[in-house]
């Protein structure tokens, strides 16, 4: 336990001055380590699994890392043969290559001495496995699957929806936080009440509206219903309430028009809340699945999440592709989070959620 360990395990034990481990230190570290395992573990496993072959995915017991049976080329055989570790009758084990299997008997040869066939009961052999990454799970979809097109659609939907969300919601939040007018509280009440309408509840009428106004099979049909999110208006309004009214008075005295006040004073000052909304909007829109699936049924319009779902057939699901593409689709979200994460706490703290 050197300085490094002391540094990492800095503890509170009566404000770090104490000597022993206070019970809260133990709770803290147990909690954090369990948290790390439970929160990150599944995702890591997902990452490794995305490199498994379809057979390895269906396998039980599952492995953490992707393994495949090792194969060797043996003289006299056209195809590479699988290697097994066989337990022989007289005891002792040998690494043998399987030539063919008939019923419960496996015919094997020693790769170094391919002449003699050894018969082994299949219960007495275990495959020799090496770690191998099935990168074709990634490369194949890129070829077959119009990955670039789907990516572009996803990016278009995410960026457009986020931009419009930010502009439209911030305008509304500005009006609701900095103006007195009749109907303001009614508007607020409606927005609050609809905070909680889940999509699946209004899906049927929404679908008929979209198809009536001709937005069916159109990316805008995916974008528009999501942009007037009450959550966004709510978060931004709470934050804007904390911007002093005197600033707006000052700007009015400075001959700024209301529009200028909005975009030169209020928007820059609401940046932390806008960042929070931007992060959430990107995450939401990027991950949207059900609604795009309903609106888009043309290949050239698919978003990544919809594109992914085509691997789910009536009778079979091609998990290996789904996993790999899931990992790919997670990357942008994780990047956005890494770059903007410092805004999240400050933004949430400031966004009137306190």
């Amino acid at each position: 336990m050197g300085a490094a360990a002391r540094f990492i395990f800095r503890r509170r034990g009566s404000n770090g001055r104490g000597k022993g481990w206070h019970w809260t230190d133990i709770v803290t570290w147990v909690w954090l380590v369990c948290g790390l395992l439970i929160m990150f573990g599944p995702a890591v496993w997902l990452g490794f699994s995305s490199f498994k072959t379809p057979a390895a995915l269906a396998e039980f017991p599952p492995t953490i890392l992707p393994y495949v049976t090792q194969e060797v080329r043996v003289e006299g055989y056209d195809k590479p043969l699988a290697l097994y570790e066989a337990t022989l009758e007289g005891g002792g084990t040998r690494v043998l290559a399987e030539v063919r299997r008939i019923g419960i008997v496996s015919q094997m040869v020693d790769p170094n001495a391919p002449g003699e066939i050894i018969k082994v009961n299949i219960a007495d052999r275990a495959p020799v496995r090496t770690m191998s990454f099935a990168t074709e799970n990634y490369t194949q979809p890129f070829v077959q699957f119009d990955f670039v097109q789907y990516l572009w659609n996803s990016v278009f939907v995410t960026v457009m929806a986020t931009l419009i969300t930010l502009v439209v919601n911030s305008m509304a939040a500005f009006a609701l936080s900095k103006y007195e007018f009749r109907g303001r509280s009614v508007a607020m009440l409606i927005i609050l009440a609809t905070l909680m309408v889940p999509l699946s509840v209004i899906m049927v009428p929404l679908y008929s509206i979209i198809s009536t106004i001709g937005l069916f099979n159109n990316l805008w049909g995916v974008i528009l219903p999501t942009v007037a999110t009450p959550t966004g208006v709510f978060i931004l309004r709470q934050y804007m309430l904390t911007i002093p009214d005197e600033l707006i008075d000052a700007a009015r005295m400075d001959k700024a028009s209301e529009w200028q006040i909005y975009w030169r004073i209020v928007l820059p000052l609401a940046a932390p809340a806008l960042a929070v909304l931007a992060i959430f909007s990107v995450v939401w829109r990027w991950n949207d699945f059900l609604w795009p699936l309903i609106v888009l049924s043309r290949r050239e319009l698919y978003t990544l999440q919809v594109g992914l779902s085509i691997y789910a057939g009536e009778l079979n699901v091609q998990w290996h592709f789904i996993l790999a593409m899931t990992v790919v689709t997670m990357i942008p979200v994780v990047l956005v989070f890494i770059f903007l994460q410092r805004f999240i706490t400050t933004g949430i703290a400031g966004a009137g959620l306190k």
Binding site: G35, W45, A172, R184, I209, W259, V333, A349
Partner: protein, 343 residues
């Protein structure tokens, strides 16, 4: 790491100014007509202008569907478009409420609806209580004098970023009969269990997975609240020799109350709407033990063999009423605490 971190604000600013030029140009362009508009409407009239785009989109894509849904709930048949449907009044509602005994869903005509209602109620109570306790615990721990706090914060927040479908899939692979958890139990010499096909365990799994997916968000809000509590209060308490538990009950909790309220309300709303991740995880099974209201509405109105949009709409209107009650409850509490603070 260090050089990147130190150079990033500058590069941010540069990037910002590159982006800023065209935006500024557009905004200035818009300004001229808007000044004219402002002359016409006056300053307070501009509020309507700012509100209009949001309200327009909101009206078309949220309020209008809600209104149509109400009309739907008064019509029958399997047709999808309103024009093709026949008006039947409140029959759909009476069908939902046709029950032998309201405490036993199986005695009802629409037993699936009442099962879903019961499941949702249980889920909301369990999930919200447990999640908030855990989020509070996490926030308290993250608020301690930790090394690499932002890393730990990210660890707990990370699942919030995942799509519900991914969350459902991951946990399905972990919890299914041949999943990772059973493998781990097996390796440790314990008896594997079929988690997702056992009614109790499947429900517990739905609660646990949903907590896993959302807890980070609430922990973050609570953490923000904890960090806003002035440090000198704790110092004063220390001077008074107050015990840690008492500090928690008498200082931390009361000062965190507004955040807790927000968290409870948001979590309640979210819990009532539970669908995606549980749907992927259990499909509503085993039997109907994890089928929730939203799934019932989705399947009845959209995904079932013979869809019945009217019945689904009626169910969604009932669900909406519950949600409105929750909102009013929130507004009520919010106002009362605000009032208290003023006094």
């Amino acid at each position: 790491m260090t050089p990147i971190a130190s150079s990033s604000p500058a590069s941010n600013r540069r990037l910002g100014s590159i982006l800023f030029v065209p935006v500024q140009f557009v905004m200035t362009l818009i300004d001229a007509p808007l000044r004219a508009l402002q002359k016409l409407t006056g300053i307070s009239g501009m509020a309507m202008f700012f509100l209009a785009p949001n309200m327009l989109i909101f009206g078309i894509f949220v309020l209008l569907p809600l209104a149509i849904n109400f009309v739907y709930s008064m019509t029958g048949g399997t047709a999808f478009f309103l024009a093709d449907r026949t008006f039947i009044g409140f029959d759909q509602y009476s069908r939902l409420f046709e029950c032998g005994n309201y405490l036993d869903p199986l005695s009802c005509q629409e037993d699936a609806f009442w099962t879903a209602v019961g499941n949702t109620a249980w889920f909301v109570v369990l999930q919200v209580t447990l999640m908030i306790l855990m989020a509070l615990g996490t926030a308290l721990i993250l608020n301690r004098d930790l090394r690499a706090r932002s890393f730990w914060r990210a660890v707990f927040f990370f699942p919030v970023l995942l799509s519900p479908v991914v969350v459902g899939l991951i946990w399905k692979w972990i919890l299914q009969r041949q999943g990772l958890l059973n493998f781990a139990l097996f390796e440790m010499g314990l008896e594997p269990h079929n988690w997702l096909t056992d009614r109790t365990w499947a429900f517990a799994a739905a609660v646990a997975v949903s907590i896993w997916a959302h807890m980070g968000f609430y922990a973050l809000i609570l953490l923000a609240g904890l960090q806003a509590i002035p440090k000198d209060l704790y110092e004063a308490a220390e001077m008074d020799g107050t015990k840690a538990a008492r500090v928690f009950w008498r200082i931390t909790l009361p000062l965190l109350a507004p955040n807790l309220l927000v968290v409870v309300v948001l979590a309640l709303i979210k819990a009532v709407q539970v669908f995606d991740e549980v749907y992927v995880l259990t499909g509503g099974g085993p039997g109907t033990s994890t089928m929730f209201l939203t799934q019932y509405i989705y399947e009845t109105g959209f995904a079932s063999q013979l869809r019945n949009p009217g019945l689904a709409a009626a169910a969604s209107i009932l669900m909406g009423l519950v949600l409105v009650v929750l909102t009013l409850f929130q507004l009520g509490i919010g106002r009362r605490t605000e009032g208290k603070r003023k006094r």
